[in-house]
Symmetry: D2
Subunit: 133 residues, 4 copies
């Protein structure tokens, strides 16, 4: 199932493709995604845009929360920004902190290539009870 | 000052340019930005990616919080997702809810072309005491 | 219905009673609650405890979100603290920002007696489809 | 220093005393606090009030963030509610996720006596550069 869902996300999530997000690992309730930071992802202060970091975390969150093939929609998300970077690889690791039939909670940590924590994300989803694939 | 800062953001924020974000209005403590949703912004469920909505809100937040020409960095942000869309124009309006010398708070509402609320965002910044332009 | 629900909350919410929270106004999708700040609500820095402010906002949120007599449980909440106080009256006004069958969103503003904004709260609930009274 | 700060919090935080919060452990960047849930902490649905859970997490956050004797004020906090309880012991463990000179971030997990996760909290503080004791 994971392989099928991975291909589904890779083929269908066009925003993830636009930003170069790759699924590195995924399984029931977790996901790791990564991306390369390039010039076009920087903000006016020459730092990686907070929207890019959020989007990467949100993608890991989406992959992890849909990993049981039950369509799960984000209700809310919260992000703490710890450190700015201007290039290199960024990795987001999502894990399930609460598994429920209708509501589930996830946390995501984003780190740079050296393992430094860049941002901390938490979010909840509502499960629709509909398969994705 | 607003015109100078507007040009600074338009020239320098490369991620906003990549996603087609436009500053429609800005002044001390507020900003309105908008964008057109296209195919490449959709997620695997054929809905506008939450990361795009967050990024648009975050851009309005950045423009509003830096509008006094005092470099302001995002500390945290929270977003509630209310409704999904798959196309059209989206507009984010940021306003200041707390003005402080070091810490300031903002709220952002994102609406579709018909005025329906799509997402609600709140965030805080830390002011560095350094001019942007 | 509002009067019946108001009495239900006043009789049954023991934590609200412990902290002296009063329902001033309530109706479909909104609520206003208030409380007097006393010595026993202060933290170690002689300022009203953030937990008291959150609890007041959370109570307004609970009353507003349950105002249609459909049991609604908090999924998440976010609070921005703007200003500390050490006494006087505090008022929390909750309003609905998204009405949904299963998921609904609310924002709450807390002000002191002079109308100064002390904290901004947002939260979402999950509706159980069960009446309260 | 930890012992001195522990006594300072125990003597001075009157709201923590009102709610029966106890500091079980604290050190640089972390704290564990606990409390007994009693009848007067329940909400209208006969479940421990979200404000009580938040307050306990907020207290652990305050103790952890002030543990270096540098007055640290909460800027914002976010909480996900996972599971409701109606009695027993609740424990909140706060740990530092980002240490900064001015801004620092913390996460707090609240569990019941059996170790089940009840709520997940994240928050940031602004350091004033003033000693507490």
């Amino acid at each position: 199932m994971s392989q099928q869902l991975k291909e589904f996300f890779e083929r269908r999530d066009r925003f993830a493709r636009l930003l170069g997000f790759r699924i590195v690992d995924m399984g029931e309730g977790y996901a790791t995604v990564e991306a390369e930071v390039s010039e076009e992802h920087l903000n006016a202060a020459d730092v990686l845009h907070g929207g890019f970091l959020f989007s990467l975390a949100d993608y890991a969150f989406a992959v992890a929360s849909n990993s049981r093939n039950d369509l799960s929609l984000a209700i809310n998300a919260n992000i703490l920004f710890h450190k700015g970077i201007s290039g290199g690889t960024v990795t987001a690791v999502a894990r399930e902190i609460q598994e429920g039939k209708r509501i589930a909670g996830y946390s995501v940590e984003i780190r740079d290539g050296g393992g430094t924590l860049l941002a901390t994300f938490t979010g909840t989803v509502y499960r629709k009870g509909i398969p994705l694939v």
